[in-house]
Symmetry: C3
Subunit: 175 residues, 3 copies
């Protein structure tokens, strides 16, 4: 049985909607409500992100329980590990939070990868492709896209399935 799936793709490629639909199907099978683990946090004055969070919440509606966890994804997954499927949206914002807070993202990623096989309930991760444009001139942007690509590889390796989303439709890359 597929218990963990990583869904990746570019901005506005339909990853979140696909992940939500899939998580709700798993929730219907399990009889337990779906759990949404949000890594997004809107900083003061970031109205774009605040709008996006509000829009996403409105779309999800009442079928979901929402947990906000910008940093400690492992704790959120361990604490919510009953029968209900979890959707983590998304790993790229989680990495952003870790880097801005100057935490060691590689240790956090190692812990996540080690935790995955020990979880009981399904988990769907959403992440972003950020490495298929021209090399950024900004050194921080280059470090970020390197880290984002490495996290995607490591989590994909640990997951049972990997989907790549194009214009709202998944290409099933693994298994």
């Amino acid at each position: 049985m597929t218990k963990s799936i990583l869904i990746t793709g570019g901005a506005r490629s339909g990853k979140s909607q696909l992940a939500e639909r899939l998580t709700l199907e798993l929730a219907a099978d399990s009889g337990a409500p779906a759990i949404y683990i949000a890594t997004a946090q809107a900083f003061d004055g970031d109205t774009e992100m605040a709008d996006r969070i509000t829009r996403h919440q409105a779309r999800r509606g009442a079928e979901w329980t929402t947990l906000a966890e910008p940093f400690d994804l492992c704790a959120a997954l361990r604490d919510s590990d009953g029968g209900a499927p979890r959707l983590v949206d998304c790993l790229t914002l989680w990495l952003t939070n870790l880097m801005l807070d100057e935490r060691d993202w590689q240790s956090e990623c190692d812990a996540l990868v080690a935790l995955l096989p020990r979880l009981t309930a399904p988990v769907i991760f959403v992440t972003n492709e950020v490495g298929a444009g021209i090399v950024p001139e900004n050194a921080l942007a280059r470090r970020f896209r390197d880290a984002a690509g490495l996290i995607n590889q490591q989590v994909a390796e640990a997951c049972d399935a990997l989907w790549f989303c194009v214009a709202g439709h998944p290409i099933k890359v693994k298994p």
Copy 2:
């Protein structure tokens, strides 16, 4: 029978050549000459775009009838809806035109999606992936890539087929 196809991919991934080959094959089947619906417009002084338009026209040659329509794609598709297959190149430039002219791109996209099932002759759309690089620092660029991704999703949903082009070769994502 597949009547509408969306071909997406990065810059210089071979989308246009693939779409042209496919449209000519459909034209040969139908016995009617292929129709090229160009959304590109070169503004004063934009020599890069003017060069690109000239190069693309030279490559297409005499097997094509060309219509230029930067804004009203629905009218162009309705008016040309006989037996001949149409190639629309491309949705991303169409969106650019709509946004620069401050038109409501979402209404235009809704109208296009509503029109598609009512068309008789085949239509091949070319579009661009613009969302798989690092998040742009420029707010307008972010709005544009969001809109481009949403149009791609909506048109892909309405089309019979979706191809993702990599280094000149298609991955058939849908059906």
Copy 3:
């Protein structure tokens, strides 16, 4: 038998590791040590690139013979064409070198494409997707991403196989 493979993908999508694993498998089959043809060159003061070259060499270890060839890829492939498989990492840096040195990359690419069917031993190429982000504001960056896309198309056409790498996993696009 598949003799030439192009592996493409975004930054940190696992292309090099995949290519290295594949080349070592071919080397084990052939009984000859794998040959690494490095196109990277670190200019004075470019510590990022110097670090990357050192890291990659450390990962490869003693199973490889390394040739450094920033420009004349055809000579490197002809001269090394015995039984051992070659890994060329990567075409995008080769293009960068050619453009910075103001050489005619299209002629070099034509020569490479013409050479491929005449080679005896296998060759695996690594290249980068750089065209799936927003259009760069910088004209040189636009020329570079156009050239990179065209090289990818032309080499993909000449190769027996084309893989697109996502989060460390290949999508086999061709054959």
